[in-house]
């Protein structure tokens, strides 16, 4: 399921950048997170080796996915966990709704799960009249504001303290104009503590699911996943099937990479390992496909399924930092989103792989060595092959390819181009030329290099 956006990334980005000081602030904030990541990475001489191990473990996982899932399910069930399977987001939502109805649950808390965002769980439940409280502080803030998270790890990164203060004043009755993060966090702590204590159902995500034990790991800094899971009578953990890793010892590799890549911390405050429900509790896992098995079959793109949702790629992406997560019109934005989302809905997301200069920085920061920038290039070819390029663009490209395939035509076109730029500047120096909006055109030299060569060198 993907959102039907009525804007392209380029349009949204232009609007975002119109507020230049705010763009600079957003860019600097995220760049700072990238710098923290660099510091953490450089503190481990074995960092690049860790990335290789992580990449290999994940690839092994992709290549043995069937067996690993079967083992995982068997082990989880033996430990008293109920395992459900959902083909798509709709089925995922219905499974959760059925558990809610069967148990007559009314008070639900949810910790951060990008999968539930992808499935639009909150919207679905709200339509059914079920109240669901997001407990990650950033997510609670955007939930109050009726926005979606703009970053998969830092959901409210697009908001300033004043924005949060206004929102909390409106919804929690905090002092108007008090922007102190400590004060605001304390208010949220009190408000959400009541929700945890009263909760009947806790929904969490899954960072890693371990096949050999049937257990799973949830990582947070706030402790909100656990406050819900250990208080509520029912715990539902939602996961894309690619979250599987073979053995518990592999967590040593991933837990060393995850927080360092995401925020520059050596590890999150809580790395919670769940394997059995507590006495009297129901524990459920929902394993979701939603296009992942299709992506698994795409040779060029299957490596995108290695993703551990750290968002290091977001923080290094110059385009994301200057356009904000909402300009990607999907649950998972950033570079990783741009190679996952076209698989979900190519038509709706055909603009995303083009929102990049292919600089390659993302692939370098990815802890599991996904070749993101190469996949962006390959998605461009796929999208064009499917006939989704704009008609005008296709014609222009065809024209260019003909010119460049025929030397004599190329030389003539070049000469004409230079003549126009020199003698008829108004043809290029106008509002219809996007280059000219904020840049001067290059000057036209009197001769091409080839002309110079023939006149000076070729004797």
């Amino acid at each position: 399921m993907s959102s039907q956006a009525n804007f392209t990334h380029a349009e949204a980005a232009e609007q975002f950048i119109a507020d230049e000081p705010r763009t600079d602030w957003h860019d600097d904030t995220l760049w700072f997170v990238r710098e923290k990541r660099d510091k953490a990475a450089h503190s481990l001489p074995e960092w690049e080796q860790l990335r290789q191990w992580a990449s290999d473990i994940k690839y092994h996982g992709l290549s043995n996915m069937h067996q690993l899932l079967v083992d995982f399910e068997k082990n989880a069930i033996a430990n008293g966990i109920q395992v459900h399977w959902a083909v798509d987001g709709k089925e995922h939502n219905e499974i959760i709704y059925k558990i809610i109805q069967d148990n007559q649950v009314q008070r639900i808390v949810k910790s951060k799960s990008m999968l539930t965002e992808e499935c639009h769980l909150n919207e679905f439940l709200t339509e059914k009249g079920v109240e669901i409280v997001d407990t990650d502080l950033g997510e609670r803030i955007v939930q109050f504001r009726k926005e979606t998270p703009s970053h998969i790890v830092l959901p409210a990164i697009h908001l300033k303290k004043q924005d949060v203060s206004e929102t909390f004043h409106e919804h929690l009755g905090t002092e108007k104009g008090n922007n102190d993060p400590q004060y605001l966090t304390e208010a949220a702590r009190g408000h959400l503590r009541d929700k945890f204590i009263a909760s009947e159902l806790a929904i969490t995500g899954v960072n890693f699911a371990v096949a050999e034990t049937g257990g799973f790991v949830v990582c947070t800094n706030e402790g909100n996943a656990d406050m819900g899971a250990h208080a509520a009578k029912i715990h539902i953990a939602c996961m894309g099937f690619e979250k599987i890793i073979p053995k518990a010892e592999h967590l040593g590799v991933f837990l060393r990479l995850l927080a360092r890549s995401a925020t520059g911390q050596p590890i999150t405050t809580y790395s919670s390992h769940f394997s059995k429900p507590r006495a009297g509790q129901q524990m459920h896992i929902v394993i979701v496909d939603n296009g992942r098995s299709r992506q698994l079959g795409r040779e060029s793109f299957r490596n995108s399924l290695k993703c551990i949702r750290c968002a290091a790629c977001f923080n290094t992406w110059p385009v994301y930092r200057r356009s904000g997560g909402h300009s990607y019109h999907t649950a998972v934005a950033g570079p990783i989103g741009s190679i996952l989302n076209p698989n979900l809905d190519m038509q709706a997301n055909k603009d995303l792989p083009f929102a990049s200069t292919l600089c390659g920085s993302c692939s370098n920061v990815c802890p599991v060595k996904i070749n993101i920038h190469e996949q962006l290039y390959l998605w461009r070819q796929e999208i064009t092959k499917e006939g989704m390029a704009a008609k005008g663009k296709t014609f222009a490209m065809w024209g260019m390819s003909e010119v460049l395939a025929h030397p004599a035509i190329y030389r003539m076109a070049g000469k004409m181009g230079r003549w126009v730029v020199k003698h008829l500047p108004f043809l290029t120096n106008n509002g219809m030329n996007p280059w000219f909006k904020q840049r001067e055109m290059p000057e036209a030299p009197k001769e091409s290099f080839r002309d110079w060569y023939l006149n000076n060198k070729k004797k």
Partner: protein, 194 residues
């Protein structure tokens, strides 16, 4: 076909040729001159407090002092006092007012200041999260260098729940300002017994 069958069939059809698992060479990772010192340094940098103690009496004194001040304290360490036999079954509402909890930690990890706590140590899964302040006791000899070493010593899924705990709870969700004390404990004191 059920969803399970559909999904598994799709995966079977699409998964690539099997590639072997890598060999994790634990001898190739970072080592510290002193795991104890590294642990303390990192713990302090993430908002925790480390104190070295000779024996359990320091903790007994701490607990007595809390009682004297009328604080609600929960103890989960047999060595320092009795453990409430109902602790395991206490629910959230009954634990909400706990101001301090004492829990015994297992393996500790120097590279990230974390401590392994399993369900038998916590007694009640909610306790280390809902208590306003947390005191964890570890033995210096149980501090290992990295997570790889930790997983060699910890059967992380044997008791129904366990976690690596690194410092007090925190968030930076409001304009990247670090605030200690989000939903979990507001402070963490780690007492290290030699």
């Amino acid at each position: 076909m059920s969803a399970r069958e559909t999904i598994l069939a799709g995966i079977m059809a699409n998964q690539p040729l099997s590639q072997d698992l890598p060999v994790i060479d634990v001898s190739a990772v970072i080592q510290f001159d002193s795991n104890l010192n590294q642990f303390k340094t990192v713990l302090e940098s993430i908002g925790g407090i480390a104190i070295e103690i000779i024996d359990w009496t320091a903790l007994q004194d701490m607990m007595q002092s809390d009682f004297a001040q009328g604080k609600r304290v929960v103890n989960a360490i047999a060595e320092i006092g009795s453990i409430d036999p109902n602790l395991a079954s206490l629910e959230a509402a009954e634990l909400a007012s706990v101001q301090r909890a004492f829990v015994k930690g297992g393996i500790a990890v120097a590279e990230n200041g974390s401590i392994w706590l399993d369900e038998t140590a916590m007694v009640n899964r909610l306790l280390p999260f809902i208590a306003e302040h947390l005191v964890i006791v570890i033995e210096a000899k149980n501090i290992v260098a990295t997570m790889h070493h930790a997983y060699q010593h910890v059967a992380s899924f044997d008791t129904g729940f366990g976690m690596f705990l690194a410092g007090p709870s925190k968030t930076a969700d409001i304009e990247q300002s670090l605030v200690i004390g989000a939903h979990g404990a507001r402070s963490l004191m780690v007492c290290i017994i030699q």
